[in-house]
């Protein structure tokens, strides 16, 4: 988006599709990223015990609004960060995908807790093995559930990531839609992401 459509090449020279960073763009980046980091509106997607820790993070003791997340956005259309707090069953997969699709760019997502990040202890028929098989994820917060400090650290990592963004490279801001095969990642990538690990390796596919 933005400047990437501008063709800076002089007449006759080959068209360069992206602007290389210069004083002008980095200054604009700094301003835009400063504004974005300071007013991240979270869209809570709480499905399990992580949501309790998320509520604790939002409440007065930890007070997520210190970081500009003053307003919980319960409408995806006014949200910037999707925080998936808790395990995601396959039944909710189309729901979180639709919520993600409804959020306008720029948008980010935090996968909070072991279950959202990897399926956690639920390596079974009903559970998505990591929400990164459904939506792109920016920050993974480990823990079962993570303490509020953990989530806040994840939020600050996300802010750090946002500060590094530049609109001369819009890769992160491209919409990753569901393709013709009904997935947004290649199928073998999803199988690989969903491979059992840790203790669940010794749980065989019993018949």
């Amino acid at each position: 988006m933005g400047l990437s459509e501008i063709e800076p090449g002089a007449a006759g020279s080959p068209v360069v599709s992206a602007v290389s960073p210069n004083f002008m763009t980095t200054s604009l980046d700094f301003l835009a990223n400063w504004a974005r980091t300071g007013s991240l509106w979270p869209m809570p997607f709480g499905t399990a015990c992580c949501a309790i820790e998320f509520m604790a993070t939002a409440a007065s003791r930890y007070d997520i609004s210190r970081f500009g997340m003053e307003r919980m956005s319960f409408s995806p259309r006014q949200a910037d960060v999707l925080i998936c707090a808790g395990r995601l069953p396959f039944k909710l997969a189309p729901v979180i995908r639709r919520v993600w699709d409804q959020m306008p760019q720029p948008k980010w997502s935090i996968s909070m807790g072991a279950c959202a990040s990897s399926g956690g202890i639920f390596d079974n028929y009903a559970m998505v093995q990591g929400i990164d098989t459904i939506i792109p994820v920016d920050v993974y917060v480990p823990g079962c559930p993570p303490r509020p400090e953990g989530l806040l650290y994840g939020v600050m990592l996300l802010m750090k990531k946002i500060r590094g963004e530049s609109f001369t490279d819009d890769f992160l801001r491209r919409e990753q839609t569901i393709g013709a095969n009904g997935l947004y990642l290649p199928p073998d990538r999803i199988d690989e992401l969903s491979e059992p690990f840790g203790n669940s390796v010794s749980q065989t596919r019993s018949t």
Binding site: K91, A93, P94, Y125, A126, T133, I178, P196
Partner: protein, 206 residues
């Protein structure tokens, strides 16, 4: 301590005779095995006979013992709240016979969702149930019945296929059909579900 069976067993045997196949006492609980044909009568009798008054249906479930001779046991846990006393009624379904038992929805309205759950997880058909469709898994779930022992822990399909099928599902199809029939999303339902809704069938098992 060897606990005595519930006094209801003797009266049940007198009333139903051969239909009460056997009874056991396990951990102080009386378990009565009834024949599949008479189990509805047994439960109705236990509920409505003065002196028995098992008025509360605690749970319906099923057990897969991985036994080559009996495919499943369907379990009704009932309670006489006033005494209080508990009774467990079971029906063993032999291997090879259809997984069908009569509904008790006409006795306890609360059996509606319990029977739907047993259908969803084990594939037991409750004959006469008004709305027998999946309740936990979505309606188009195609992998089978997850709580059977023959069902692999991670499902039959690969993870990518499971993800694809899940994402292809409409979130609206999780709602009840009554809610959907008044919503715009009716058109997004699978065609066979739309057809059944139009006919007012709603998964009724003849």
């Amino acid at each position: 301590m060897i606990a005595a069976p519930s006094p209801s067993v003797a009266t049940l045997r007198k009333e139903f005779g051969e239909a009460i196949e056997r009874h056991v006492v396990s951990c102080g609980d009386t378990i009565v095995y009834a024949s599949r044909e008479r189990v509805h009568d047994v439960l109705a009798w236990l509920k409505e006979t003065p002196g028995e008054d098992y008025s509360y249906l605690t749970d319906i479930t099923a057990v897969d013992y991985r036994d080559p001779e009996r495919a499943l046991e369907v379990v009704w846990q009932i309670r006489a709240i006033d005494r209080p006393a508990d009774m467990r009624v079971k029906v063993a379904i032999p291997t090879g016979e259809p997984l069908e038992v009569p509904t008790v929805w006409d006795l306890w309205r609360g059996a509606n969702w319990l029977e739907r759950e047993v259908f969803d997880m084990f594939g037991v058909l409750f004959i006469g149930h008004p709305d027998l469709r999946r309740i936990l898994m979505w309606e188009t779930y195609a992998e089978g019945f997850p709580l059977r022992k023959s069902f692999p822990l991670r499902g039959h399909f690969s993870r990518s296929e499971q993800t694809r099928q899940a994402l292809a599902g409409q979130p609206e199809s999780h709602y009840s059909l009554e809610e959907l029939s008044i919503a715009d999303e009716y058109q997004n339902l699978p065609a066979d579900v739309r057809e059944r809704l139009k006919q007012g069938k709603r998964g009724f098992v003849e």
